[in-house]
């Protein structure tokens, strides 16, 4: 007599197969996942409440902490919200520098994710290589902003300071270095027969489902839909840059990994153009005394393309010194919760961690 028995397995919060501090509660029948519940809140800090208690300018220091591997879209989004509310125009050079920072951050975050995806299938060599490459990006940030991970560089009205001497050459050199590494990653990961076998056809999202589920960013583009906030609601200097949106049609884990590699290549192209086309001029529009700054009343919703997907800040000002309300919609708020829950249904336990990493769900965005 065979009796099927369901049992519960927690993946996380203390588990290597989880991205950050997050938990999946799996109901298993054998190796098949019958039901998945995500559990968040381990990283909850109440950012939205904290922002209501701080000055407009003070908040720059905390917004970047909302997404740890890719902090710059947050700063950028926050700054653009304030600019939209107060009708401020920022200098052209600042726009270019902001885009440059965003793209560098995107490359860094994608390298991180690539390492993560490869590690879930057991290629521990890949994170060692790709995180070392990411470190070169962090070094650029250190030269530019003084901080490795959190930069506090994009501020309302522009950027904090101009590029240091020789920075452009450094960036180009680093881009060459990372571009030269990409074929190595190809032969280690994307041409690895076992990796291909593991990821091809695993956790497929079809085009229709992706739109239905509100999937955004690289995950949407891996399903074959060429949508990108940088194109469809262009911001900063992206309208002056000539770039493609890479897409793949599979919608499986392999394509979600591959799209990140393709985006690194595309971002390198964007960075080169930004460096070449960058105009001279001031980098910071004149803003009022930040300690007494009152942003005009209004409400605005601004979106940014982060490396995880579409970011959105909804900001309400009542004309005071502090924000009345800031609501943050992280890209992972769909990917990490109900998209993940739906995709893990019927998947195998071996793939749970792979699927989570391939979606690039970032728990701090969900918890805030």
């Amino acid at each position: 007599m065979s009796e099927k028995r369901e049992y519960t397995l927690y993946i996380g919060p203390n588990h290597p197969g989880i991205e950050g501090n997050y938990a999946l509660r799996l109901s298993l029948e054998g190796d098949i996942i019958k039901k998945c519940n995500t559990e968040g809140g381990f990283l909850h800090r109440g950012f939205e409440k904290l922002m209501e208690q701080r000055l407009w300018i003070q908040n720059i220091a905390i917004v970047c902490r909302i997404c740890v591997p890719d902090p710059d879209p947050n700063e950028n989004n926050y700054a653009r919200c304030i600019e939209a509310l107060s009708g401020m125009e920022i200098p052209e050079r600042a726009k270019f520098i902001r885009s440059l920072v965003l793209e560098l951050s995107r490359i860094g975050s994608h390298l991180f994710t690539l390492g993560g995806i490869a590690a879930t299938t057991g290629i521990y060599t890949m994170p060692n290589w790709s995180i070392a490459a990411r470190d070169r990006i962090l070094e650029l940030f250190e030269a530019l902003t003084g901080g490795r991970v959190y930069h506090l560089y994009t501020v309302p009205g522009g950027v904090r300071r101009d590029l240091p001497n020789g920075f452009k050459d450094k960036v180009l050199k680093t881009m060459d270095y990372i571009e030269a590494r990409l074929p190595e990653y190809d032969s280690l990961v994307f041409e690895n027969p076992v990796f291909v076998q593991r990821t091809r056809g695993t956790a497929v999202i079809s085009k229709e489902t992706a739109l239905e589920w509100g999937v955004t960013g690289p995950n949407l583009r891996a399903c074959g839909i060429a949508e990108d906030v940088r194109k469809n609601q262009t911001y900063e200097a992206y309208d002056q840059i000539d770039f493609n949106i890479p897409t793949f049609d599979g919608g499986d884990c392999y394509d979600r990994a591959r799209i990140r590699r393709a985006e690194i290549a595309e971002s390198i192209n964007i960075v080169r153009q930004l460096i070449n086309k960058m105009p001279e001029g001031p980098v910071w529009a004149k803003i009022p005394n930040p300690l007494k700054w009152k942003v005009p009343a209004g409400e605005v919703f601004i979106r940014t393309e982060s490396s995880k997907g579409e970011y959105g800040y909804y900001m309400v000002s009542d004309g005071g010194r502090k924000p009345y309300r800031v609501n943050v919609k992280g890209a992972s708020m769909t990917h990490g919760t109900f998209v993940l829950e739906n995709m893990l249904k019927g998947a195998r336990i071996e793939d749970a961690s792979l699927i989570m990493f391939s979606l690039d769900a970032c728990p701090p965005e969900i918890d805030r």
């Binding site: 501090n21 381990f42 800090r45 905390i62 290589w129 490795r148």
Partner: protein, 193 residues
């Protein structure tokens, strides 16, 4: 005379034992906060931490160091306490980032705890928001030195002052069950007479 000899042997054994612990430390792979993002660079090829014998380990039963990488939300704190009690002594806790010392950036947040050492004993703190990999490695080296000269004994403190820690834990989290009977364990292993 013979009495003195026994004491010496014990001291010698303690010395050897500390030297061994110093050479091999397994760090629990638990990313409690945003500081965890600086751990991959520290572990991987840029700042290869395994040079010092510090290696990541995935389950609490096998780990020696619990890294609290940044702020702890209340929900995380409960898991950290459960994890800490599952670890095998001697064990060390490293508070990582200014948020573990006094709340740091989140000092007025309703969700995070402010002082880590109220809830579990901490051996060393690494200051910064967030500490750079160099700082982490320096922190580990300080911890190794402390282990070597026998001053990293915070884990004993947890056995001895368990009542105090438990009180603080319950104050924040409410009554909750831990599966490890700390007081019994302390008596069994002779940490508390």
């Amino acid at each position: 005379m013979s009495n003195k000899k026994i004491v010496d042997q014990k001291a010698a054994w303690n010395h050897v034992y500390r030297r061994l612990n110093k050479r091999s430390l397994w760090m629990l792979h638990y990313c409690t906060g945003c500081g965890a993002v600086e751990l991959p660079p520290t572990m991987t090829s840029r700042w290869d931490m395994s040079r010092f014998g510090v290696a990541p380990m995935v389950t609490p039963r096998q780990a020696d160091i619990l890294l609290i990488t940044g702020y702890l939300a209340k929900k995380s704190l409960k898991r950290v306490i459960l994890t800490y009690e599952q670890m095998q002594s001697p064990k060390w806790v490293v508070g990582f980032g200014s948020c573990t010392i006094n709340g740091g950036m989140y000092w007025d947040s309703y969700s995070t705890i402010k002082q880590l050492s109220e809830y579990i004993p901490v051996d060393i703190y690494i200051a910064g928001c967030m500490p750079q990999p160099e700082a982490i490695i320096h922190g580990f080296n300080v911890l190794l030195d402390k282990i070597n000269n026998g001053t990293a004994n915070a884990w004993k403190d947890y056995y001895i002052n368990y009542k105090k820690y438990r009180e603080n834990q319950v104050k924040v989290l409410g009554e909750f069950v831990t599966n490890t009977d700390i007081e019994k364990e302390a008596r069994y292993y002779g940490v508390v007479k």
